[in-house]
């Protein structure tokens, strides 16, 4: 085995790097445009009812995730029609959802709903019920626990 041979001196490149540089800049620009143009609109925020009240003008009609505690559940298993209020102790909003709900959906349960406001009612397309502290608890649940403590 021999010692590594020294590298030859770098030859000056014959071609101009300008096209490459321009190409990279164009791609980065395009990527940035798509990313930040689109991202701004496709960002989905997590709010509590009180935060929504404060930022209503900004958030109205946007896809949202709203977290809080469940109150006043009315559920018909035959039609799968679910209505309840979500509250964080301050503000409270009615939520409307269609779909099956397990027995775990109870009063005072922490919940995160995904959907958007139409008027004063939150139309949920997805329901994330908090089942257990132990498994796959998203960070929002830590915040929800704080809410729970505050509202008790």
């Amino acid at each position: 085995m021999t010692a590594p041979s020294p590298l030859p001196q770098a030859r000056r490149r014959k071609r101009s790097p300008l096209p490459t540089v321009l190409g990279v800049l164009a791609l980065v620009g395009l990527t940035g445009f798509i990313a930040f143009g689109n991202l701004g609109r496709s960002l989905e925020y997590f709010v509590t009812p009180t935060e929504y009240v404060q930022q209503r003008a900004e958030l109205e009609g946007r896809p949202l995730r709203m977290g809080g505690l469940v109150r006043a559940v009315r559920y018909d298993p035959q039609t799968l029609d679910l209505r309840f209020d979500v509250t964080d102790g301050g503000a409270s909003f009615p939520v409307q959802y269609t779909g099956a709900v397990s027995d775990l959906f109870k009063e005072n349960q922490g919940v995160v709903v995904r959907g958007e406001f139409q008027g004063n009612t939150f139309h949920a397309s997805e329901l994330v019920v908090k089942h257990s502290e132990e498994y796959n608890v998203p960070q929002t649940q830590a915040e929800l626990k704080d809410l729970l403590r505050q509202s008790e």
Partner: protein
């Protein structure tokens, strides 16, 4: 560190911890020996470093077996077993608990890495790259074995030995796929460490000729095939267990496995340009450094809780440690490449745009942009949180689909034209002649689909490009058959690399069709069914609930709904686990079909057994994704076959067999 070895720990715990510490010592020694072997060109030191790899592999294997024995023997004095296993679990669940939580999964990673290093130590050629490739593997090992032996040791004892463990995460024991997907994924991730090690060795020694690229072809392909299979297996797993009828949610951790796959795919293609034309040498070094770093990034995202994900493990000291290693890899890789890149000289000027290498280069850019966009989407919410102070912004699938569909179609376009183009340069006239049948096929397939009622632009594009690709590959094969004769099998035996690549491309076309159709034409409906009631109509099917009942298992209970869908029986379950409390995990009933799947989930039960709420999903062509992947992996396997020469029989020497 102080409580790592304690006299109260059981025999197994102490054995495992000692094995890990000894492995760490051998890793440190081996690193030093490899560096000495490289600096002084000392064959004996290099040979000793090689032996140290064997010792590390043996010791990490011992630690892994010890943990397995502790899991199977319900030894709850080992903390990992106490926290992630329990007596009542079936044996296969105890086995999979080895990688079902943080510490065990890092141990598995370290073990596979040591295994790859072991195989590498057997196949490395005796050249200047050898000590440095070993050294680079040792640095990766140093990190993983070090983490296992210290901050994330599975063997730390517990203060009070519980009578029974807390049990595995019930979400992970709901399906046998737990035994497959994580192992495949780690094999894919770990496999990328080998080409990375070769690239580092090439950079350090300055042997930047194309040897390192040729030597890593099989490693890269193998890792890539595992990674491909792992990603799709993960998708199929979530399809079979999570009850949402989908397979990909652009979840941050899913993205974290996609980024290395995109970069590795780009690398597999651009490496061929270097092999054939001596171009893109610097580019390939960068690609493999980034691909390997992105596997560590993925693990960091997975383990740190910095992004929200269904996969995220709870935080702990491991996140920052991974971030540190990621930073080290990036700084060292970028530093090395920046130091050597000025010396990396291509043999010719930049590829002509209309040539095989031009198509590969364009594809590389698309893969790179794809990877960057996925990364941006994954990290953007975290950035928003840091900058704006808003909690928990998230980017929906709409963002990803906005670029993934056009980029995917662009890649299919290049995939069809690439193999048609000659190396170096194509003349316009000939290119047009070659492309005409493909474009005709694509256009007519697209038109036919439009007439048959397909209106979604993404699906139309996929159909057109699928026909264009398949006709292209078919024509190339026919032309070769006409020129050479000797039958298709003989052709494949002579050029397994080429036909393996074709086969992989066919598999990707099948997958693309599955993704397009199941995405665009999926139907979803929910209803409550009553036992004994008249059948309900849902999505062109008639559903009748025959019974709802409870079945006891050793580790929990299952609620079973027996439903007739158009007369065919379906059994959908909701499983509960002892350690999971009331939380129920859906086990959908899926009827697989060539043209589409029928997928039934039970979402709620009446405790008296009178009714059950169900969700019915129909996804056309979705199983083409799984079958297509099988074809891709078979194709990748075929490219690894050693070609048989038609007339000349070359005796295969041991040295030749051992290197490539």
């Amino acid at each position: 560190m102080l409580n790592l070895i304690s006299f109260q720990s059981s025999a197994l715990g102490a054995l495992g911890q000692l094995a890990l510490l000894a492995a760490l010592a051998f890793t440190l020694g081996g690193t030093w020996l490899a560096v000495v072997g490289g600096l002084r060109a000392d064959t004996r030191a290099t040979e000793a470093a090689r032996r140290a790899v064997w010792a590390v592999f043996a010791l990490v294997s011992l630690a892994t077996l010890t943990l397995m024995a502790a899991l199977l023997g319900d030894d709850f004095s080992v903390r990992y077993v106490a926290e992630h296993s329990m007596r009542a679990s079936p044996t296969w669940v105890k086995v999979t608990s080895l990688w079902g939580a943080l510490e065990g999964s890092i141990l598995l990673w370290a073990w596979l890495l040591a295994g790859f290093a072991f195989v590498l130590s057997l196949t490395l050629r005796r050249d200047a790259l050898r000590p440095w490739a070993l050294g680079a593997m040792f640095v990766s090992l140093l990190f993983f074995v070090g983490v296992c032996a210290s901050v994330a040791s599975p063997f730390t004892p517990v203060a009070q030995i519980p009578a029974d463990g807390r049990g595995p995460n019930p979400a992970l024991q709901n399906h046998w796929m737990m035994a497959i997907h994580p192992v495949l994924l780690y094999l894919g991730f770990v496999g990328l460490a080998v080409p990375f090690a070769y690239a580092v060795a090439a950079l350090i020694t300055g042997r930047l000729s194309d040897h390192w690229v040729v030597a890593t072809r099989r490693w890269t392909l193998t890792a890539w095939a595992f990674l491909t299979a792992a990603i799709v297996a993960g998708g199929w797993w979530s399809y079979e267990t999570l009850g949402w009828g989908g397979y990909w949610a652009w979840d941050p951790v899913e993205n974290a496995s996609l980024i290395p796959w995109l970069l590795a795919t780009a690398f597999l293609h651009s490496v061929q340009i270097q092999e054939r034309r001596g171009l893109m040498r610097a580019w390939n070094v960068w690609l493999i450094v980034l691909a390997y770093a992105s596997t560590v990034l993925g693990t960091f995202l997975n383990r740190s809780g910095i992004v929200q994900s269904v996969h995220a493990f709870a935080g702990g000291p491991v996140g920052p440690v991974f971030l540190g290693f990621l930073a080290f890899l990036l700084v060292a890789g970028i530093g090395l490449a920046a130091w050597r890149a000025p010396h990396l000289r291509d043999e010719a000027d930049a590829p002509a745009p209309v040539s095989r290498e031009g198509a590969f280069l364009a594809g590389n850019w698309l893969f790179l942009v794809f990877a960057v966009m996925v990364l941006v989407g994954t990290l953007f919410p975290t950035l928003v949180e840091a900058v704006q102070g808003r909690r928990d912004a998230s980017v929906g699938p709409a963002f990803y689909n906005a670029f993934a569909i056009p980029l995917g179609l662009g890649l299919m376009l290049l995939m069809g034209v690439g193999p048609l183009l000659p190396w170096r340069r194509a003349e316009g006239e000939k290119l047009w002649q070659a492309l005409r049948p493909l474009l005709l096929a694509g256009l007519s397939a697209g038109l036919l689909a439009f007439v048959l009622g397909v209106r979604s632009p993404g699906v139309l594009g996929t159909i057109a490009l699928s026909a264009y690709n398949l006709v292209g590959l078919g024509l190339l094969t026919l032309r070769a058959l006409r020129q050479r004769g000797g039958g298709f099998a003989g052709l494949v035996r002579e050029q397994p690399r080429r036909y393996g690549a074709y086969l992989a491309h066919v598999g990707l076309v099948v997958m693309a069709l599955g993704i397009a159709f199941s995405g665009a034409y999926r139907q979803d409906a929910q209803a409550t069914l009553n036992v004994g009631a008249a059948p309900s109509r849902l999505l062109n099917e008639t559903l009748a609930l025959r019974s709802v009942g409870v079945e006891r298992r050793t580790d929990g209970a299952s609620q079973v709904a027996r439903v007739l869908i158009d007369g065919r029986p379906f059994e959908a379950r909701l499983n509960t686990f002892i350690q999971g409390g009331e939380t129920a995990f859906a086990a959908p009933a899926v009827r697989y079909g060539l043209l589409g799947d029928t997928y039934l989930v039970v979402t709620a039960f009446d405790p008296q057994g009178r009714w059950a709420s169900v969700r019915l999903i129909e996804s056309p062509l979705i199983s083409w994704i799984w079958w297509g992947t099988l074809v891709v992996v078979l194709g990748a396997g075929l490219t690894l076959v050693t070609p048989r020469r038609a007339a000349v029989r070359v005796p295969v020497t041991r040295a030749a067999a051992a290197t490539d």
